[in-house]
């Protein structure tokens, strides 16, 4: 457990969260401050003991929750949201949506969030890729060749006979 007092924890968390949000694209200081306050008010004392990770996780969970990302993309989407792209793209572009008390966000914001998800790979579309045979040619292959040659010979002989009228 961190040895800092709760008030010092709060200040530390506030600073880290502020710089984190700045890095994510929230350039307006006032908006950052409002968002920080709101996040901190939702954090427990235990979360405050590890300020940065807790604040970040809180922010991510909150965004995922209000945007309904979870229902759209499943667990992977929430995890992806943790990557920060979502926050960088959406929080930076629509800070007021995130700062509003209402939990509704605009459709454009929602779409931007979905598009901003760091999809590492598209959904699989499985197809079979069967192993090919590399069995060596064997005696039967030579036999087939001989049989073909014999057949050709017989046909050729028959043709010669039919031409010569014998």
């Amino acid at each position: 457990m961190d040895s800092l007092t709760p008030s010092r924890n709060l200040m530390r968390a506030s600073e880290i969260l502020d710089s984190f949000l700045l890095e994510l694209g929230l350039e307006e200081g006032l908006e950052r401050a409002r968002l920080v306050m709101r996040l901190l008010s939702e954090m427990t004392a235990e979360e405050l003991s590890q300020p940065l990770a807790a604040a970040e996780n809180k922010l991510v969970a909150w965004v995922a929750d209000i945007c309904g990302v979870d229902s759209l993309h499943g667990t992977a989407a929430v995890e992806s949201a943790k990557a920060g792209v979502l926050l960088a793209g959406a929080a930076g572009k629509w800070p007021t949506s995130f700062l509003a008390d209402a939990r509704e966000v605009t459709a454009a914001c929602r779409e931007a969030i979905i598009l901003a998800l760091p999809v590492a790979a598209p959904a699989p579309l499985p197809v079979a890729m069967p192993d090919q045979s590399l069995v060596p040619v064997g005696a039967e292959w030579l036999g087939q060749g001989m049989a073909r040659a014999r057949r050709r010979g017989v046909e050729s002989l028959a043709q010669t006979r039919s031409i010569s009228g014998r």
């Binding site: 457990m1 990557a83 920060g84 792209v85 790979a121 197809v127 590399l134 040619v137």
Partner: protein, 682 residues
Amino acid sequence: MRRLAISGVDPMLRRAAVFGTAVLTTGLATLELRAVLSLNGLGIFEALLLVLFAVSFLWISLSFWTSLVGFFALLTRWRPQGLARPKPGRTLESRTAILMPVYNEDPREVFARVQAMHEALADTGEGEVFDVFILSDTTDPKVWLAEQQAWFDLTRARAGQGGAIYYRRRSENRARKSGNIADFCRRWGARYDFMVVLDADSLMTADTLVELARIMEANPSAGLLQVPPTLINRRSLFARMQQFASALATPVLARGLAFWQLGEGNFWGHNAIIRVRAFTECCGLPNLPGQAPFGGLILSHDFVEAALLRRGGWKVWMVPELGGSYEESPPTVLDFAVRDRRWCQGNLQHMKILVAKGLHPISRLHLAMGVMSYAASPLWLVFLLVGLAAAVETHLAKTRYFMDHSPFPVWPQSDPWAAIQLFALAMAMLFAPKLFSLLAILLDGRRARLFGGRLRATGSLILELIFSTLIAPAMMLFHTSFVLEVLIGRDSGWGSQRREEGKVSLREAFDRHRAQVLAGILLASVFIVLPQSLGWWFSPLAAGLILAPLLSFATASLKLGDWMGRLGIFRIPEETEPLPVLRRAREILAASRVSEVEGSALQALAADPKRLALHRALIAGSGEMPAPQALVSTAVSRLEAGRQLDGKEEAAVMTDLGALDRAVRVLSAPVPTENPGSRAAA
């Protein structure tokens, strides 16, 4: 199954002309040697020499006639018939995946190249139909984290511009690179019409990528188009020489090959576009029966995949006229040899596949040529040893002047002039591909300027020929030892290629070339018993072997390479007129913010929540199975007990979200501090 529509006569005539002249030349040269050797009667040594000479000479002869054809094809701007060319500027209707398989490579370099290609594709207006897949088989956990960071930065930098950029790491590297590509085909291949397979050091221009997709659209029977890559981007002297030789000879040799291969071409493993459906249907590679090195996983999968595509009725074309296809050379002789060790095993393994049912004769020829490219070395070595033994025997044997009680003496005969002529012929044919290539440059003022001018190009080739002649005996012994190692069943394993430059010490060079130096000294000592006239024949061989470590050391030098570069020696067109995509890749690399991971990978994750979040996101969304539970549990327990984990254990923990959380908790826990009082008391 598709049926090929190439007219039967034309390919037959082309092939008969090239192979017929090669066989004829070999026959004539062998008869000439027979005449030289039989002056004093043909013994067992002489007969053996003739056989070895014929086999080895056929190899040189085929290369000579191919390059001669390529030379005229280059001059006449010939293009392979049967491959339809689309109208310029036609909008693409297909979707293409660009695959970049990586295995513990430097992520900064890989992603710089990817970004440069992605940007260039976007500039063509066709970027939307090209998605990039970075298919990682990386096992080093720190490189893995760096790849994730590089991918994350790249997706942010390129968001909304061009196609998507995907990243996938396999937990288990089943079937190495071929398995990596097959995994893509099985999971996402159905989303794409074509895939461009690259290597970690590949670079292709956007124009070439777009044109490849257009040609594939215009040729529904084409299964694969190979654009022969040329070497770029290196600074060491050895690599510069390789780059120069590649830039010089590839246009000629590739056109020569394309002339007789037509739709029965080959796959070189990367820098090629492939029809995904054809590949998925025809190229699932089985394990060969038996143990490695001949059995098990097919190592050099590219030749086999081309043969299987062709067996499935798809055409495989070489398109040398496109250009815009690049890769990097190993930086030193020793790295080159290490790569050859892998390739040698892979190619010799093809002896088993050579006789597989249903393959096209030209596919069998490609496989045989792959085998021969390594088997030629022991054949040449035996040829030289037999020649040496015959010379020693002749010299030491008592000359008999009177036979069968005849009163007339029989003088020993020799025809040094005929022997010199034959030697000159062999050397001329050996060097002909490069000489034809130089001639093609000398005849074209614009191309000559790109190589630094006619004088510099000629001087560079002379230096390159001297070097390649001197290093050839060492390479011959390397290849011979590789072949023997494979034959006695020693597996080469799968190491990543060293791509950084300037890393060979004199000690390492002597250590690695020790056997060759000894062989050179032994050979030189034989000269003591031989007359001087015979000694001269073997002197380049002995000199090359004795000098091998020095050559290896000197040519690894970046300083020498840079010096040559300043003088304009070994200059290549891409240095005279740098490609925008290459220039951009260098700029991106210089500005890269992806740094090496400090400490262990798990420590880096524990210390950086954003890195951890990204990692968790990628793991959760990957669909990959975690590492075996036993390995993960043991690793976490060891970590909780305060032990250090090795790379494999760390990587295992990093595949499992639950284990990762436990590991991060352990590593994030505050370190208990000692009681100051007790320390003071102590």
